[in-house]
Amino acid sequence: MQLYLPIAELPVNMLLILGMGLAIGFISGMFGVGGGFLLTPLLIFIGIPPAIAVASVSGQIAASSLSGTLSYWRKNAVDPKLVGVLLIGSVIGTAGGVAAFSLLRREGQLDLFIALSYVTLLSGIGMLMVVESLRAIARSRSGEPPKLLPARDRRVGTGLPFVMHFPRSRITVSAIPVIAIGLGIGFLGSIMGIGGGFLLVPALVYLLRVSTAVVIGTSSLQTLVTMLMAVVFHAATNASVDVVLALLLMIGGVVGAQFGARTSLSMKGEELRLLLGLVVLAVGMRFLIDLVVRPDDPFSNTVLEWVVRA
């Protein structure tokens, strides 16, 4: 079933896009990540222009993170105060990312930047996840009880100015590292078309030492707001959000996420993390291969601007 995309200006197979949304939604529900890091490359692979893929996926991530956020909110597992401070950084980061995106696109280096970011981030994070989860699996095999971290208030970077207390996350921390994390995630997220959950969760856990009870919910809310901003910024500066494409992805995504979440209940946490780590690593390797292998055609065409447009 072919459907014409009004912004991408080409027909796509509707069932293919729905199916992709479903599959990525399944993975995102299973691992509790947005799945943008898989969806954006897939869309580019089937011929959607990168700018439109990145901008439209932002809409899909926002939709799927809202359903996640709502269910964590009901369980009281969100720290809105921490999200508020993170957002100070993300607003600037997202706006900067969208501006950098336009500039890189014009200069013809957007694809390279996206590929390099994917290779570095995905390989790095993927490797860390694989190693960490293999250790956890080995520990549980040897019958050693897992190290339980006592739930208590922690202090991080309190030497810096603007120290704040976040009672829900059980941390006391300077606002500077929090804003810096928000800035970085907002910037990368809007350029790479990812929600950044797989970056934010480790950052919250290992850098800020946020209580594990609120990590996923907080990351979910932060992703939701950042991606909503990214949609608006991309639409305003690049006119690259294809609502028809975004809606198809959203529908597939939210349905797939439900089944993914059910499947994940029957799996162990460290096994899930190992699988996710392998998936992340594989995507990173895929981008690395594209970068180093001689392309089929070293030349490419891009329309810079239309002379007369009716």
Partner: protein, 253 residues
Amino acid sequence: MSRIVIVILALLAVLPARAETMVTSLSTHRLQITSNFVGSEIVLFGSIERDAQTISRPGGYDLAVVVRGPRALMVTRQKTRVFGIWVNTDSRQFVEIPSFYALLSNKPAAALADRELLARQQIGVDAITAITPRLGPDPAATPAFRDALLRINRAKGLYRENPTGVTFLTPNLFRANIPVVPNTPVGSFEVDIFLMSGGVILARESTNFEVTKTGFEAFVANAARDHGVLYGLAAAMLALFTGWAASVVFRRD
């Protein structure tokens, strides 16, 4: 104005033999893209009128129909290997390049006329002029960029030649099917019809058609272009609604 000059020049050039005229008609002047658009076709009909004194052409008539899509500033980039990875290192911009080009004829372009005439009238993909304002660090490499531009657009189906695209129904009545590809650019298309015989242009007609989005597609595209912020807010609302609806439908707790 320039068109009048061309017509006068053409008249002067072939005056003694010029007695043919053409009457042509397109099946539509406005092709509308709807949500189920997967490419389409516009049919051109034409008849060759000849007055009584005109001698009959020994080689018969040839027809070349040239279709050009909206023009654009295009850039062709070249990747080379830098520190082991492939990076865009060199590029050429080409001004006013047709985003779509099709030559429909009753025989291959090379058999219609000599290269000079084909180049002057821009008949055939290889005859498309590609002007680049800046030659870059290596001017000698520019032809390679021009070739790549044509080659890639051919591979995408945007530049095409069909040497059997014109059918003669009778010796004086012809039909050409103009393809509108699925990934067609949107805008105004020019159609130039050349009546030729023995490598000489006998008559020339021009017409045009419009490819536009319609209904919902047009509404979305216009909103995205003219009201970016509002469009973005609407897209954000759509995301919120879908996410909320999913959490209501699938709520288990």
